[in-house]
Symmetry: C2
Subunit: 352 residues, 2 copies
C-alpha cells in the first residue's frame, strides 16, 4: 500500500496530470452518463431553465463527453463553449459532430484557468461535484470561470450546494469483524484475537465511498454547510465548516458518520418545486454513493440520544485536490472526540 | 491513472516495501482465510500428509496470520518456523500464543532470503500463488528456501503448479460497449460514436482479475505449463511458456482468453486422488478468480474452430514482482496475432 507515496508531496503539475489522466478512460464517463439521477436531473434542469439559455452563450466547465453542452444546445443556446482539460475532449468533439452541433458547440481542450474565450458568457453549467462534494476541488475552477467569464446577472447551474451529516451503523463492518470469531469453528484455529487489529484496519481514517442503505441511517440528517455558487469565494472553500445536532431514532450502535450532499438548480420565476440532485442514502443511488467516516469503535445510543459536533472540510496538504474531513463530535454523555479523515491515495488511480 | 508512475522504474527496495506493505492491512488476510477452497484444501493437504510432518521441522514461507503453521503443528510438527516479512507477523505471534503453540511455532519477522534458521527443515509449506499464479513472484522465495533450508528428500506443499488457458466470451464487456448505443433513447444524445473509444479502453492490455463463469468458457482448457516445485529453477521462472491448442465448443464470439492455475499436493504412498487446489472458472470460486486477457476485438468462431498459440509469462521490466503475459494466437483462418498484457500498476495498492 502506498503509505510511502502518501507522505510525499506531489508537485502541482504532477497532481493535475494524475487528476486529468484519471478522466481519460471511458469507465468514469460511462458511470457518469449511466447515472440516471445525475444525468436526468441536469437534463431537466437545463430544459426547465431554457428561458435563461435560449439565444444565450453558455460555458460548460469540465465538459467531459459534452453531454451537458448538447443539452444546452437542445435548450436553444446560441453558443456553448465546452471546456475540457483531458483527452476525452477528442471524444466530445466527435460526439458534437455526430449530433450535428458543430455550429453551436465549440469544444476547447484546456483548463478553464488557461483557455481564452472570445466572449463573456450568460450561463455557466458544470457537473463539478466529487465524492463528499469537494473531493477533486473542481468547484474552484467553476468559481474561477464565474469570476472571469460570467456576465453580471448571469446564471449558474447548479446554483447551490448543501452538505449533510448523519450518524449511521454499518452492519457489514460489524459482520466483517465478527468473522474472526468464526474461524475456529471453520478450521479449528482460534483467530478471535485478530478482531482488535481488524477493527483498527477497517475503521481507519480513510473516507470510504460506499452505498449506505436508508435503514442504516440513525437520525434525521443535519445540514452543516451551504454554498451559494453566486457568492462563495475560493478562500471560503479552503475551510468549509459547520455545526450539527442530531437525535438518534432509537436504540442502536453508531459506528460511523455518513456525509452526503445535494445541489439545487435555479427555478425560473422561483416557481417551486426547485430541482434538487440529492445523494442522500434515502434517495435513489447515484455514482457518488455516500462518504462514510468510521469511528474508532461503535457507541451505543438510545432514542433521542443527542449526537452533536462540528465538521470541517479542507484540502489535503499533500494534494490540494484531495479532501480531508475533520469531525469533532459527542455522542450522548460521551466526552468530545475528534477524528480526521482523508481520501486514500489510490482512489483517484483505481477509479479509472 | 498512473501512466506517469507506470513508466518509472521502482528500485527494488521500494518495490519490496510496496509489496510487503500491501499485506499489512487486514482485508487481504480476511479474504484469504475466508476463501474456503484455499484454506480447506491446504488444511486437508497438511492433515493428509501428517506422516511426512509428524515429529518433523517445517518452514512456512510467507506465513501471514500463521494459519498454515498452526495446521502443521496440529498435524504433529515438532517445530514450525513461520517466516513473514510484513507487520502481520505481529498478529501471527498473537494467534500462535492464543492457540498455545508458542513451544512448537516460532514466528520470525523477516524475508526468507535474509532470516537465519537454527536448522534445516524436513517440510516447506507455502501459499505463494498470486494472480495468474506468478504475479508477485513469491515462488522465487519458496525456491530460495528450498535450495537453502530444505533437507535432501524433504517435502514441499504444494509440489506442483499448472497453468491453463481457454478462449472465452465476456458478455459484460459487450453489454458495456452496447451501452453507448442506448444513450440516444435515454437522453436524446447520440453517443454511439463512443463505442470504438470504449472498446480501446475496456479491451486494453491490462491483466484483468475477474470471476469468469463456466458458461462463458468456449473450449476445454489447454494446459500450457507445469512447474515441478522440487526441480524448477529461478532462471526458469524468468520465462514460463508453452503452446496451446483448443477447439471451440460451438458458435460464439471470442473476446478474451482466460488464464488460471491449479496446484497439487503430494499424495502419501501415491494413493489417488491427489489433492488439487483449482482456480478453474468451472470450479467453486476462489479469491484468485481468473486472469482475463481481452483481445482488441471479438472474433467469431463455430464448432471445432481451432484456437492455437503460445503463452509466455515473465516478470515486468518496471517491477519484477509484476507479471506480464504475452500471447501469440491464431483463431481459425485468422493470421497470427500477438498481444502483451500486464497487471495495472494500482492493483497492488488497491487490493489492500
Amino acid at each position: 500500500m502506498s503509505r510511502v507515496v502518501k507522505k510525499r508531496k506531489l508537485d502541482e503539475i504532477r497532481q493535475d496530470r494524475l487528476y486529468f489522466d484519471s478522466y481519460s478512460d471511458v469507465t468514469i464517463h460511462e458511470e457518469m452518463i449511466a447515472d440516471h439521477v445525475r444525468t436526468n436531473t441536469y437534463r431537466m434542469a437545463i430544459l426547465r431553465n431554457s428561458e435563461s439559455i435560449r439565444g444565450q452563450v453558455v460555458l460548460d466547465v469540465g465538459a467531459g463527453t459534452g453531454v451537458l453542452s448538447i443539452f444546452c444546445a437542445q435548450a436553444g443556446a446560441k453558443k456553448v463553449y465546452a471546456v475540457e482539460a483531458c483527452s476525452i475532449a477528442e471524444q466530445a468533439m466527435k460526439i458534437v459532430k455526430h449530433n450535428n452541433m458543430e455550429d453551436r458547440i465549440e469544444v476547447i481542450r484546456g483548463t478553464v484557468e488557461t483557455v481564452d474565450l472570445p466572449e463573456t458568457v450568460d450561463v455557466i453549467v458544470s457537473e463539478w461535484m466529487g465524492y463528499a462534494l469537494l473531493h477533486e476541488s473542481m468547484l474552484n475552477s467553476v468559481l474561477y470561470a464565474r469570476d472571469k467569464w460570467l456576465k453580471p446577472g448571469g446564471v449558474i447551474l447548479p446554483s447551490k450546494a448543501e452538505l449533510y451529516i448523519t450518524p449511521m451503523i454499518d452492519p457489514v463492518v460489524e459482520d466483517r469483524l465478527h468473522f474472526w470469531y468464526t474461524v475456529k469453528d471453520q478450521y479449528g484455529v482460534d483467530m478471535s484475537c485478530m478482531c482488535d487489529f481488524a477493527r483498527k484496519c477497517v475503521m481507519n481514517s480513510d473516507i470510504t465511498v460506499n452505498s449506505v442503505t436508508c435503514e442504516d441511517v440513525l437520525s434525521h440528517p443535519a445540514r452543516f454547510a451551504e454554498l451559494d455558487l453566486y457568492s462563495v469565494t475560493p478562500e471560503e472553500l479552503r475551510s468549509v465548516k459547520g455545526q450539527f445536532r442530531c437525535e438518534s431514532f432509537g436504540s442502536s450502535a453508531v459506528n460511523a458518520f455518513c456525509v452526503y450532499f445535494t445541489v439545487t438548480f435555479p427555478c425560473p420565476d422561483n416557481t417551486p418545486p426547485s430541482l434538487v440532485l440529492s445523494t442522500s442514502p434515502c434517495k435513489p443511488e447515484t455514482h457518488w454513493k455516500q462518504a462514510v467516516l468510521y469511528l474508532d469503535a461503535p457507541v451505543e445510543v438510545v432514542q433521542d440520544t443527542p449526537i452533536t459536533g462540528e465538521v470541517i472540510m479542507y484540502p489535503s496538504e499533500e494534494n490540494a485536490r484531495h479532501i480531508c474531513i475533520h469531525v469533532d463530535y459527542s455522542i450522548g454523555e460521551q466526552k468530545q472526540q475528534s477524528k480526521t479523515f482523508s481520501i486514500p491515495d489510490w482512489s483517484s488511480e483505481a477509479q479509472s
